[in-house]
Each structure stands twice: as C-alpha cells, then as structure tokens.
Amino acid sequence: MNLTLKIWRQAGPDEKGKFVNYPISDISPDCSFLEMMDILNEQLIAKGEEPVAFDHDCREGICGMCSMYINGRPHGPDSAITTCQLHMRKFKDRDTITIEPWRAKPFPVIKDLIVDRSSFDEIIQAGGFISVNTLGTLPDANAIPIPKQNADLAMDAASCIGCGACVAACKNASAMLFVSAKISQLALLPQGKAEAKKRVQKMVAKMDELGFGNCTNTYACEAECPKEIKVTNIARMNREFFVAKVCVPKME
C-alpha cells in the first residue's frame, strides 16, 4: 500500500504544533498501525530527521498506553480495539491518514503524539480503591459468595484500560466513562460497599477539579471505548453520587 500520513508534530508542551505530510510506500496490509509508524520512523532517522514520538508498550490492547487520534477517531476506524491492534488492512491504497494526539485540556501534549494523562492517576488516588491492609490477616476468599451476575458486571467495568479515548472522543472532555467504570466495579462488589459513599464523592470532586467537562449524554465515549465500557456505568455512578449526597450531607 502507498499512503500519505498527515501527522501532528509538536516539539514540546509549550511549542506550537503543526501538521506535516509524510508519504510512505510498500506497506503490507497485514502490518499493524504502529508497525507502520515504526517503518516511518526508521526512514526518518535514515534521512536525518527526527522520528515521531508516540506512546505504546504492550502492543496487544491491554496496557492503555497507545493513544492516537486517527482520521478523527480515537484509536482509528476499527471498533472495540486500541491503536496498537489496528491493522493496515482497514485502510485503502492511496489513502491520506490524519494522525493527532488526544486533544483535551486535562491531557496536555508532551511531544508530537504523546500526552500527559497523569490526571487519571490522580482521580484513582482520590478514592479508586478498597482500603485493605496489605499485610493483615484477611477472611478466606470464598467467605463471601458473590452472585456470578454481579461479578461479571464488575469485571465488565474493571476491563477499562485507562487509555483516555473516552475523554478524547467527548466534545466536553468528560471523564465520566472512565470514572464510572471504577466506581461501578467497586460498588458492585460487597467488599467495596463500606467506602462507597466517600469514594464517589471524592472521585467526582477530583474529576471536576482537574478540569474534565460534564456529561451531556452524547455517548461518543461508549462508541469509541476500545473495551466497550457501557454508559450504564455512568447511570450507576450518578445514582451512587445521589445516594451519597443525600445520606452523607458533608464529606469529611
């Protein structure tokens, strides 16, 4: 395949970025998208130009590191996959492919296609955990049976890889899908109940503080989420939030 890549280049966080066009030829349709980027970078280095910086690690759709906005869609044209799982067979010969970083205020660009997503870690630190003493004696794992249905729903929500595509897809840069996935997982399990009220309030407050926008129910997040996290989680989070507000008027 012969293609034209239109890539966002930005030298640093405070620099101005711009699109640069790169022609690339002889790409196998069985090549993955990131392998195509590797080939481009090898060619750029050979020519003495600076390679395109992008985040990636596992290259199998689970670490959540890769994050390219391809032809106007986070993770590109295929559904339910990450950028690293996208293959060139999804494009046509002679296509022009536009590649940008995630664009959202709480995810500032570091360089080229790399953005800073540490705000997601901060939200988890605000309460996305169950406080267990890691060295203490705990009840036997089978002491509390959990209905399979709840365990499965918790697992669905827990599949979130923290990639940020939901934020990149949303016109308000809302992080509701990401936050609600964690809140749902822990709210669905008996172990998570004790801290549930505090958790939802703290995580939502943190999300607002970090500049993520509100949800206006366009569901672009669900459509672009590589792990098919459902917006029903947002409904569950809103319910949890409401209950917490009503029952615990003041957060300590």
């Binding site: 080939i39 990636h56 290259r59 540490s118 705990l138 009840p139 827990a158």
Partner: protein, 648 residues
C-alpha cells in the same frame, strides 16, 4: 568477593518461613519514617512491594518507565494465577503445588523458596479478593478454577483472559492509596540507568526523566529491583516493548551475581511470525490448551499443500491428523509443560509437518470443544482471546483452527538472590521476574503472577524490614556524595558517546540482528558449536554497534531512540553471558535444551551428577571473562526423578 550464602532458615520445610518471621528484626513505627526505600518497577512485584512497604510506614520512592504505574508489563498476563486453595477438592495442597513447581522447574530451583511460594499463595487470593479483584465465579457465587500445564489439579484462578490486568489494577489501587497518603512518592516516565553503592551497600539510583531528559539522583537506605524479565534480548518476544534487561545488567556490573542467565522460557502458543516489519509476538494464553487440541497433518504432502495454500485445514480428515502431544504424552496430553510442548512443535515443523505459509506453525483446534460444550461456553471462557486472534490474523478461530508457534516469553534467570531476596550486594533486593529464584529451569503457567505478588506483598515487606532494623541510626542518605557524582558522570558519558557516535545504522537494525542470532543459537535448541559461534558473533555485533549506531537527537527532552540505544547496548552484553552460561551447562533441563544431550526419542537428558546447581556469574570488568560460582541444590523433601509426562 561476595560469598553465596542462601540463608535458608532452620526448621523443617513447613516451619522455615514461620521461623524466619518469628525471629526477624523489626523496626518501630517512629523509626520507619526515618528509613527510605527505593522500589524500581510497578509490575506485580514492584507495585505490591511499594504499597506494602508504604503501608508499614517506610518512606518509599517508586519508579516506572510508563506514564502510569498501571501500565507495567504485568498488565498483559492473560491466563491466571495459581494457589493451593483446593476449592474444587481435587486433591491439591501446599505440598502438591510445591512439588509440581519443583518438578516443572526440572529440579533446578531451591526447595525452601518454592515451599514458601506455595505457602503464601493462598494469602494472595484472599488479599486480591479483599481488594476487589473480580475473579471468575461459578453460579453459586464461589470462585472458579481452571487447570494449566504441568498440573493434574485445577488450581488456577482467573479473571477472563485478563488476569494480569486485574491483579495489577488491584496492586495499583493499593499503591494509589499509599500515594494519596504520602507514604509512597511516585516517579513515572523515569528510566533507571545505574545503581549507586556507598560503602558496599546499595544506596541509590541514577535515572533519566524521559520527558525533560534530566539526569536525576535518588538515595535511600535500601533498593528493591522489580524491573521484570529480559526476554526482549531476542527482539521478538511476547514482552511489552519497554521491557528490558538493563537494570538487572547494571546491578550485575555493580557486583550482583547473575543467576542462571541461560534459562529462558519459550511459550508454545503464540501467533506465528508473519513479516520482517513485525515488532512483537502475541501470546495466546496457555489456558486455551484446556479445551483446544494441538495437531499437524499426518502426511507431509498435506502439510506442503497447506503451506502453498491449495488445501484447507478443515479439509483434512480426522484420521489424517496427528495429535502429537496426546500421542506422545498420554497422561498430560495437551497440558504438558511449556518446554515440552514447544519442542514437540518445533520437532514436527522441522520434520516438514508444519502449517501456515512459512511451515512454522501448528494447529490449535477448538472444534471438539465447541461441539461438546457449545460455542457460548467457549466464548465465555476465551472470548477476548479469540477476538484478539481475529484482529491480528484476520481469521475466525470459531470456524478454522488457530495457528500457533513457540515464542520467547519469560526469563527464569535473573539476579541471584538468597532466601530473603537479597542479592550479593547488601541492601539490594530483587523481586518478581527480575530475580532468578523460584522456577528453576522452567516456569509453570500461572506461577509468575503468583511469584510476583508473593515477593511483593508477602516476602519483601518482612525481609527488607529485617535489613533496615540495623540501619535506624543511619541518617537520610545524601545525593551529593562522591559516589553519586561518579556514577552520574559515567552515565552521562555513556549517553553522550551514543549521541555523538553518528554512525549509519538505527538501533533497531542491531536489535533485530541480535534477536536472530539469539533465536538461532541460544533459543529452543542449542549446541556447543552454535553457542560458540553466538559468543563470537555477539562480540562482533557489539563492536559494530559502538562503531556504527546512529542515535538522533540530544539528551534533552523526549528521545525514544536514546532510550532504545541504552537498552540494546546492554542486551548486546547480556546476550553473550546467556550464551556462555548455556555453553557451560552440558545437559538438557527445562527450557535449556542441548542437542547433544537427548535420548533417541528426543527427550531431554538431565545430568544431576554434574549440574544440579544454580550458576551465579560474577562480573569482572569490561574485557574480562566473568567468573562462575555454583550454588548446589539439595533436595531433602523431594525425591529427584526424571520428569515424565507420559504417565501421571
């Protein structure tokens, strides 16, 4: 010279760990706040260790390469984690898990360590459930188990095909809690580039901030290394792209012994190589062997037609299929350990029965399981793996059999540690895949996650505390000591040399060449001639690298090529030590298979008389031969046998 003292506590096997804990030194809460610990790595081992040490009250600094601790390579583990809970009541016990692990490791692991691993395995499951890890459950609401290679019981806990993800997110949540509390300080996008030793003790590290390019110094009373395995020395492996061997290599060069460097695991079920642009290999979880049957065409003509694309797998009649694992190993069948399954696949492909366009693949077929259990059951068990396969290969595994081939997956070798997970450098500890400790010559499936969490949650917090107890009067270590100055200078010189080199070839060119060399000569089947050749060729390639590598950019800001260059420079040295160790071990055991040492049927010949030891290598300087030390292995509680998977 450090001596090899494995420091195994007194008592019977079952009493040793309890005895250690009963007699270890403790630090009182007020003093804990005055003691600092560096933990490098946020995989299962690192995140669990950092969180637990933080919770105990120590001041912890934790580092990782990725932009978030949640993205460590452990996230990619699919299949499951072992524990001796015996919930299915199929005869499992701590002893049996211990026995299976020693046997699976082909009698090259230390008894006391492995027993402790089996002992704490049950606590891991309790702990993870308490943290909210959504393990798979049965309809009654209790935890579900599956079986894995090398075991006759079902002891593997799992969370769909994403067990590593869920366990790591559990550890990450514990870590997040400590970060919020302020007991752990997190440093992301940092790459450790060297270790600092002061007065014979590990006291700090030098890192590069991969965003700003800054070279930084960090000091502590003790350093824990949990940086994972070095499988990427082969270029193509199932490891994540950032996985590297550099930290273990730096520790080795600073005086830590390297245990069993040649012990590498090749995983039998990976998606075959398809092109020279390929950047990594994708694993298809071993759990698939529970329900999938492995076969190749009986007739060579059929295999040839398949390779040419003139015959389809589904057109081959049942009687023309060779289920070679079931044929050769009736007791374990498709569930033989990984090394046995990998070699059997290579044997069939080398004999001309391989499939796929390259002839380097075998079938993993779910037809019978789908007929027996229904498609929905298979989908529930392996849905995401099937989807992953289809996205990569563009074929539907519900309809046509998967194609698989062995690939580099895991390194049993690593930094040598004693029972307390301390290396030969006082104050330097190694946990998880980075150490050599528990898997001998071959690791059983679902046991790496178990080991990572055992080390991090249940061993390091005790043993590091034991070490720190006599450090309470040592004030915070300062980073302006001459030792820090000197190591930082060496790091800068190395980076500058790479940047100024201005050669003509990219880093990847060298990495790919090294990978091929390693795969051909230090891979699944090794022999004296090939290994000697490998040593020579690696040396030549290393010389060429330093002459001709091209690293663009500068020290400042993001420079991915520079990061890759430092790692490949280390791989070019580490590869040689692996070949040397393999050359030295004149026997076949576990993942280490020497062509010269096999029976007529192609089964491994182990040599217990001469090689029942851990080889621990000591670095002697850039152009000097390393020195081999031997830690003899004594089996007091297990009868050493030839591994036999033909009968139970």
């Amino acid at each position: 010279m450090a001596t090899l003292n494995s420091k195994i506590p007194e008592g019977t096997l079952a009493e040793k760990w309890t005895n250690f804990k009963a007699h270890q030194n403790l630090v009182n809460p007020a003093n804990k706040r005055k003691l600092e610990v560096i933990v490098v790595g946020t995989g299962l081992a690192g995140a669990a260790a950092a969180a637990s040490l933080g919770e105990l009250g120590f001041k912890v600094k934790n580092f990782c390469i990725q932009d978030s601790p949640r993205r460590a390579h452990s996230i990619a583990a699919q299949g499951g984690i072992n524990a001796a809970k015996n919930y299915p009541n199929d005869g499992d016990s701590i002893y049996r898990l211990f026995y299976d692990t020693i046997k699976g490791g082909d009698y090259r692991a230390r008894e006391a360590n492995v027993y402790r691993l089996a002992e704490v395995s049950n606590n891991i499951i309790d702990q993870c459930v308490a943290q909210g890890v959504p393990f798979a459950r049965e309809y009654g609401g209790l935890l579900d188990n599956r079986s894995f290679g090398g075991a006759l019981v079902s002891r593997t806990f799992y969370a769909r095909g994403q067990t590593g993800q869920q366990l790591l997110l559990g550890a990450y949540s514990a870590l997040s809690k400590e970060i919020a509390k302020g007991s752990v300080q997190m440093f992301v996008r940092r790459e450790m580039l060297d270790l600092v030793i002061v007065d014979g003790r590990a006291r700090g590290i030098i890192t590069r901030n991969t965003v700003t390019g800054e070279i930084e110094r960090f000091a502590a009373h003790a350093v824990v290394i949990a940086t994972g395995g070095y499988g990427n020395v082969f270029f193509l492996s199932t490891n994540a792209m950032n996985s590297n061997g550099s930290v273990v290599w730096q520790c080795y060069k600073r005086g830590a012994y390297f245990g069993n460097p040649c012990m590498v695991q090749i995983h039998p079920t990976c998606i075959p190589v398809h092109g020279d642009y390929q950047s990594k290999l994708t694993l298809m979880s071993e759990s698939l062997r529970n329900d999938g049957r492995i076969w190749v065409p009986k007739k060579k003509e059929d295999a040839e037609k398949i390779q040419k694309g003139t015959l389809k797998s589904t057109e081959i009649a049942e009687e023309d299929r060779d289920y070679y694992l079931e044929r050769r190993y009736p007791a374990f069948g498709n569930l033989v350990p990984r090394d046995v399954a990998s070699r059997a696949a290579k044997e069939r492909c080398d004999a001309g029965h391989g499939v796929g366009s390259t002839g380097l693949a075998v079938y993993l077929d779910f037809k019978d399981a789908i007929n027996r259990l229904g498609k929905h059951v298979i989908e529930a068990r392996y849905g995401n793996l099937f989807q992953m396969y289809e996205k990569i290969v563009d074929e539907n595994p519900y309809e046509t059999p998967m194609m698989i081939y062995p690939a580099i997956h895991y390194t049993m070798g690593g930094i040598w540690v004693d029972y307390e997970l301390q290396t030969t450098i006082p104050g330097l500890y190694a946990a998880g895949e980075a150490n050599f400790s528990d898997h001998g010559a071959n690791r059983l499936g679902a046991s790496a996650l178990m080991q990572g969490l055992a080390d991090g949650y249940f061993v390091i917090p005790y043993t590091v505390q034991h070490y720190l107890a006599d450090q309470i009067n040592v004030p915070f270590i300062k980073t302006d000591l001459p030792e820090f100055e000197q190591v930082e200078k060496e790091v800068r010189e190395k980076l500058e040399r790479l940047l100024k080199n201005n050669g003509s070839k990219t880093v990847d060119t060298f990495h790919k060449k090294l990978g091929l060399l390693m795969w051909d000569h230090v891979g699944m089947a090794r022999n004296k001639e090939g290994l000697q050749k490998a040593v020579e060729e690696i040396r030549a390639l290393r010389a060429e690298f330093w002459k001709d590598v091209k690293v663009p950019g500068t020290m400042h800001g993001v420079n991915v090529e520079l990061e890759k260059a430092t790692r490949v420079a280390d791989f070019l040295e580490l590869g040689e030590l692996m070949a040397l160790d393999a050359l030295n071990r004149e026997e076949s055991c576990g993942g280490h298979f020497r062509d010269e040492f096999q029976t007529e049927e192609g089964e491994a010949i182990r040599n217990d008389k001469d090689f029942m030891f851990v080889s621990a290598w000591e670095y002697k300087g850039p152009d000097k031969e390393p020195v081999q030390h031997k830690e003899p292995l004594n089996y007091e509680y297990i009868e050493v046998k030839t591994r036999n998977y033909k009968e139970a």
